[in-house]
Symmetry: C2
Subunit: 202 residues, 2 copies
């Protein structure tokens, strides 16, 4: 349902998307079933299909919502700010996303693993544009000697990889650390150290 009108439509659409996020993020698109989603949402399958015309449509709605907000932290990187502080703030915001929205991270990971069939356009369009723009900002900072020189695109990849790992591989991280650990707090301190040593201008 692209434009819910009544309050009950609004509420049910939200409930369905919430349940679908649960299921799609764990099983991927093909692995998820409408039965599972309807079950988690507490609705019947036909009722679910009253709100969304198809399984595709539910998945698409989730991805669109995700893409709208997922890039905000990178957009917020301010060319006029202090280089190291700006990048550290980006790392922190990205790690917070992993901690607070792990299902969204896994939904995205599933989509990319499957070859990004439904979001390739956004990736090589909006995302690439944004990354190129921010990479140019970092490039400038490096030229001005305010940041150690590293390949900006791979710097951005490393921030994605290191922060998303704690959401996408959460069960592995927890199993290997054992009990008595707070993965995200520890990761926060570690990544602070890592990017400081990597980027502080010599």
């Amino acid at each position: 349902m692209t434009k819910p009108r009544t309050r009950i439509q609004e509420k049910n659409s939200a409930t369905i998307l919430e349940a679908a996020l649960d299921v799609f993020s764990k099983q991927g698109f093909r692995g998820a079933t409408l039965d599972q989603i309807a079950d988690v949402a507490g609705l019947s399958k036909p009722n679910l299909l009253y709100y969304f015309p198809s399984k595709e449509a539910v998945h698409k709605a989730l991805l669109e919502r995700l893409l709208r907000t997922w890039l905000d932290p990178l957009r917020a990187l301010d060319p006029k700010g202090d280089p190291l502080a700006e990048i550290m703030a980006y790392v922190r915001r990205k790690l917070e996303l992993s901690r607070d929205y792990p299902r969204e991270s896994r939904l995205f990971a599933n989509e990319i693993l499957q070859g990004a069939p439904r979001i390739m356009e956004a990736i090589s369009g909006d995302l690439k544009t944004l990354v190129d723009e921010k990479a140019a900002v970092m490039e400038r900072w490096m030229s001005e000697g305010r940041l150690a020189r590293v390949p900006p695109h791979h710097l951005i990849f490393s921030i994605w990889a290191l922060t998303q790992h704690y959401a996408d591989f959460d069960v592995q991280v927890r199993a290997v650390l054992g009990t008595g650990h707070d993965p995200f707090t520890e990761a926060g301190a570690f990544l602070e150290t890592l990017f400081d040593r990597l980027l502080r201008a010599a």
Copy 2:
């Protein structure tokens, strides 16, 4: 087929596993179908099921083969070697795995994303044991002042995250970089810099 006896059985089992790796690594367990696998393998579906008793069995055989070899690079980390050189060698071998066996990396990623239903035992058993052991080695190196002090477990996570990202998110990396880039060569140089700056004893 756990123990193939004839040459033809050997060959067909291998062909099936090769095809299954293709499909499972892209679609995950539930998303993959025996039809797809049989098609890629060039066999009929019943014939495939002559060699493996079920879809589960094919998947299990793949994961077991993976786990047997996936940890070798970490096992090879030598407590008697030079700390920084040993870790750099581990990073290099791990990145080579991502470059040369990206499907294996994605198979593993899919399994973890789904909550590791089939390999949780190996993760919290053999894997945790090995990681704890090597983390202790690193800890010793740090105490001796031969390596900058960082949390060893998270250091290992960072190596996994940074190297596997180039396999698991390959399509995103290539789309964002655009043409005229060699992701793995560039990543090799970047990760060399990153871990050198992070770990070189001050």
